[in-house]
C-alpha cells in the first residue's frame, strides 16, 4: 500500500489492465469533455423557450425531446453537466483537503487533539450524509456556493477518518523518528512525509466520494434545495420533468441516465484504483 506510489509504473500498468477502470475513465472523460464543450456542441440555448412545441417527444430536431417550456432537453442536460460536475468536483476537493489535513493532524498529534477531533467526527458521521447536506443547505439557503460548502462538509468526516487511521499506522514507522532526528518540524513531517504516504488511500476514497457528491447535488436539486432555476442542473431537470412523468417521461429519463452513467463510471474508477494500489490484489 505504501509502496503503491513509489512503484507508480507497475501500479499504472495494473490499473490499465483492469477493464473496469478503463471503461470508467472513458465514460467520465467523455462526460467531462461534453460539459466543457457545451457552448459549441449544445444544439440550442438551454434556456431558450419554444412555446410552440412544449413537451415534444424525442425527434431529429430535439434528440431528448423538449420540456414544458419547449426548452431542448439535450442542451439542458449538456449544460447541466457543467454545474453538476463542477459542484461535485469542487465540493469533493474542498472536503478532501480539509478532511485530510484535520485527519493527519489528529493522527500525528494524538492525545487530546486526537480525542476531540475523533469525537466530533463520530458525531458528524452519525448523521446520514444526505440529511446533513439537506440541513446545511436549508440553514445556509440555496446558492451554488452554499451547495458546494454543504456537500464538502458532509465529505469531511470520511476523509478525517481515513487520513487519521493511515497516519496512525505510518507514525509508528522508523522514518518518522529519522525525520525528527534531522530536525524536521512537525508540519514538515506531517505534510512532507506522511501525506505522500497516505495519498493513495485518500485518492481512492476521493474518486468514490466524487460520485456521492454529484448524487447529493442531484438529490438536493430534486427536492428543490439545489441551484435555483432556471439554471440547468441534472437533479433540477429530473425534478422539472417529474410533473409530466407520465405523459413526457423523456424529461426525467435522460438526465437520470446521465447521472447513472457518471455514477457507474466513477465507481468503476474507484474500484479499479483500489485494486491497482492494493498489493494484496496484485496478480
Amino acid at each position: 500500500m505504501s509502496a503503491a506510489l513509489a512503484s507508480a509504473p507497475s501500479a499504472w500498468r495494473r490499473a490499465t489492465r483492469s477493464p473496469g477502470l478503463v471503461v470508467g475513465l472513458a465514460v467520465v472523460v467523455a462526460v467531462v469533455a461534453l460539459a466543457l464543450a457545451a457552448p459549441w456542441i449544445a444544439p440550442y440555448d438551454p434556456n431558450e423557450q419554444d412555446v410552440l412545441s412544449p413537451l415534444a417527444p424525442p425527434s431529429a430536431a430535439h434528440w431528448f425531446g423538449t420540456d414544458f417550456f419547449g426548452r431542448d432537453v439535450l442542451s439542458r442536460v449538456i449544460w447541466g453537466a457543467r454545474i453538476s460536475l463542477s459542484v461535485g468536483f469542487l465540493a469533493t476537493a474542498a472536503g478532501v483537503v480539509a478532511g485530510t489535513v484535520i485527519g493527519i493532524v489528529a493522527g500525528y498529534c494524538g492525545g487530546w487533539t486526537d480525542r476531540l477531533i475523533t469525537a466530533a467526527t463520530d458525531v458528524l458521521l452519525s448523521f446520514p450524509q444526505l440529511i446533513m447536506g439537506l440541513l446545511l443547505v436549508a440553514v445556509l439557503g440555496p446558492s451554488i456556493g452554499n451547495l458546494i460548502l454543504a456537500i464538502a462538509v458532509t465529505a469531511v468526516p470520511a476523509f478525517i477518518r481515513i487520513a487519521r487511521g493511515s497516519t496512525l499506522a505510518m507514525r509508528q514507522r522508523d522514518f518518522v523518528d529519522a525525520c525528527r532526528a534531522l530536525g524536521f518540524s512537525d508540519l514538515r513531517i506531517m505534510f512532507g512525509h506522511l501525506l505522500p504516504n497516505i495519498m493513495d488511500e485518500v485518492v481512492v476514497l476521493a474518486s468514490l466520494w466524487l460520485a456521492t457528491a454529484i448524487r447529493t447535488e442531484s438529490t438536493l436539486a430534486f427536492i428543490g434545495l439545489g441551484v435555483p432555476p432556471p439554471t440547468a442542473t441534472w437533479g433540477g431537470i429530473v425534478r422539472e420533468g417529474f410533473d409530466n412523468l407520465l405523459d413526457a417521461p423523456w424529461l426525467s429519463i435522460f438526465p437520470s441516465l446521465a447521472i447513472l452513467a457518471v455514477m457507474i463510471g466513477l465507481n468503476l474508477i474507484g474500484d479499479g484504483l483500489r485494486d491497482a494500489t492494493d498489493p494484496r490484489g496484485a496478480p
Partner: protein, 349 residues
C-alpha cells in the same frame, strides 16, 4: 562528593574542560558531554529511572561505544541526547547534555530542532524502514540541507549526489532519483549515513548501525563510518551490543546494565581486563577464535524496571555478591588506573 561528579572525573580521567560559550573548534575538546543524566520512563502511573546518573564525554575524532543488552538503557541514553524521547512516556529527569558547546537540556524545542540534523545527527538501526518509501533518496538526502542551510531544491540535489558518492554508492548520479525499495539493505544504510552527514554534523549518534546488515556489509559500513569520522573529526557515540564491533572501531567503552554505567574503560584495557562481573560475563559469553574455551552464559535475566533491586542492579545475577551490594556502589576508578572505572564494591575496593 556527588555521584555525578565522581562519574565525570572517572570517565574523563581529567578535570572537565571549562564550558565554552560558542561553538569554536578546540582540538581535543569535548563535542558531546553528558553529565549526571537520569532518564525516566513511565509505566502505568509510575516513573521509573531507566537511566541513572550517566556521565561521559566524547571528543572530536573519538568513538565511544555504549554497550549492554536490550533494555539496559543505551538506546534511551541516545534518545535523551537527541531530545527524541516520546513525550508522556519518557523524560530527562536530571542532568545536562552539551553538544558542541550548546546545552541541549536548557534549549527550547525549537533550538533543539535546529541542532538536530545540523550539528547533531543520528543513524538508526533499521535501514529498511528508516527511509520514507515514497520519496526519492536524493530528495531525502537533500532535505536536511533545504531545512538547515536554506538550499534550493536543485542545489540540494547536486549536494545529495556528492554525498551519495562520498558514502560510496556506485553511480550516484544515476541513482539519485531512485526510491528506497530499489536499494539493498547495505546501500540504504549508506543513504542513511549520507542523510546524517548532509549538514556536516559535529556529533554522530549511531544506534546499532550495523545490526540489521549482513556480516560482510557490516564490515564495509563500519569502515566507511570510521573513514568519515577520521576525515571530519566527528565525535561518535556508537550504541551496540556487538563486542566485535566495539573491538574494531571504539576508542573507549561504557558498559551499561539496568540503567547504570557499570564499567568505563579505554577499549584495550576493557578487553584485556574486564573488571565488573557483568562485563566479565559479557566477554566470556562471546566466542573467540584465538582461544578454546567454554562459552559461559550469565545466569538469570535482566530484572524488569519494576523489580530492579536497590543498590547494585546486577546483584541478583552476580557470582561475587556480598552483603554490601544492597547499597549502590559508586563508579570508582581502579587503583593506579584513573581512566578505568568500575561500579562494584568487590572489584573496585
Amino acid at each position: 562528593m556527588s555521584e555525578a561528579a565522581t562519574n565525570g572525573a572517572a570517565t574523563n580521567g581529567a578535570a572537565p574542560a571549562p564550558a565554552r560559550a560558542g561553538a569554536t573548534r578546540v582540538p581535543g575538546a569535548d563535542l558531546l558531554r553528558v553529565e549526571g543524566l537520569t532518564t525516566q520512563i513511565r509505566i502505568g502511573a509510575t516513573w521509573f529511572d531507566a537511566v541513572r546518573e550517566v556521565s561521559f564525554a566524547v571528543q572530536g575524532g573519538e568513538t565511544l561505544a555504549l554497550v549492554g543488552e536490550s533494555g539496559c538503557g543505551k538506546s534511551l541514553t541516545a534518545l535523551s541526547i537527541m531530545g527524541l524521547l516520546a513525550p508522556r512516556v519518557g523524560r530527562v529527569a536530571a542532568g545536562r547534555i552539551t553538544v558542541d558547546g550548546v546545552d541541549m537540556t536548557a534549549a527550547s524545542e525549537r533550538q533543539r530542532e535546529a541542532m538536530r540534523g545540523d550539528r547533531l545527527a543520528m543513524i538508526f538501526q533499521e535501514p529498511m524502514t528508516s527511509l520514507n518509501p515514497v520519496l526519492t533518496v536524493g530528495f531525502q538526502i537533500g532535505e536536511a540541507l533545504t531545512r538547515h542551510r536554506g538550499l534550493s531544491r536543485r542545489a540540494a540535489r547536486a549536494r545529495a549526489i556528492a554525498l551519495l558518492d562520498r558514502v560510496r554508492v556506485p553511480s550516484a548520479a544515476a541513482r539519485i532519483d531512485a526510491y528506497p525499495h530499489q536499494f539493498s539493505g547495505g546501500m540504504r544504510q549508506r543513504v542513511m549515513i549520507a542523510m546524517a552527514l548532509a549538514c556536516g554534523p559535529r556529533v554522530l549518534v549511531a544506534d546499532e548501525p550495523t545490526t540489521a546488515l549482513d556480516v560482510t556489509i557490516q564490515a564495509q559500513v563500519l569502515a566507511l563510518l570510521a573513514d568519515i569520522q577520521r576525515r571530519e573529526g566527528l565525535a561518535v557515540l556508537l550504541i551496540t551490543h556487538n563486542l566485535g564491533v566495539v573491538a574494531s572501531v571504539a576508542d573507549r567503552v561504557l558498559v551499561m546494565y539496568g540503567g547504570d554505567v557499570v564499567e568505563s574503560a579505554p577499549v584495550r584495557a576493557f578487553f584485556a581486563r574486564p573488571t565488573h562481573p557483568y562485563a566479565e560475563g559479557l566477554l566470556r559469553a562471546m566466542p573467540r577464535v584465538d582461544r578454546v574455551q567454554e562459552l559461559a552464559a550469565i545466569p538469570g535475566q535482566v530484572p524488569t524496571l519494576g523489580e530492579m533491586p536497590d543498590g547494585c542492579r546486577f546483584q541478583s545475577r552476580c557470582p561475587l555478591r556480598v552483603e554490601r551490594c544492597r547499597e549502590r556502589p559508586p563508579l570508582a576508578a581502579l587503583p593506579g588506573r584513573p581512566d578505568h572505572a568500575v561500579r562494584c564494591w568487590v572489584r573496585a575496593a
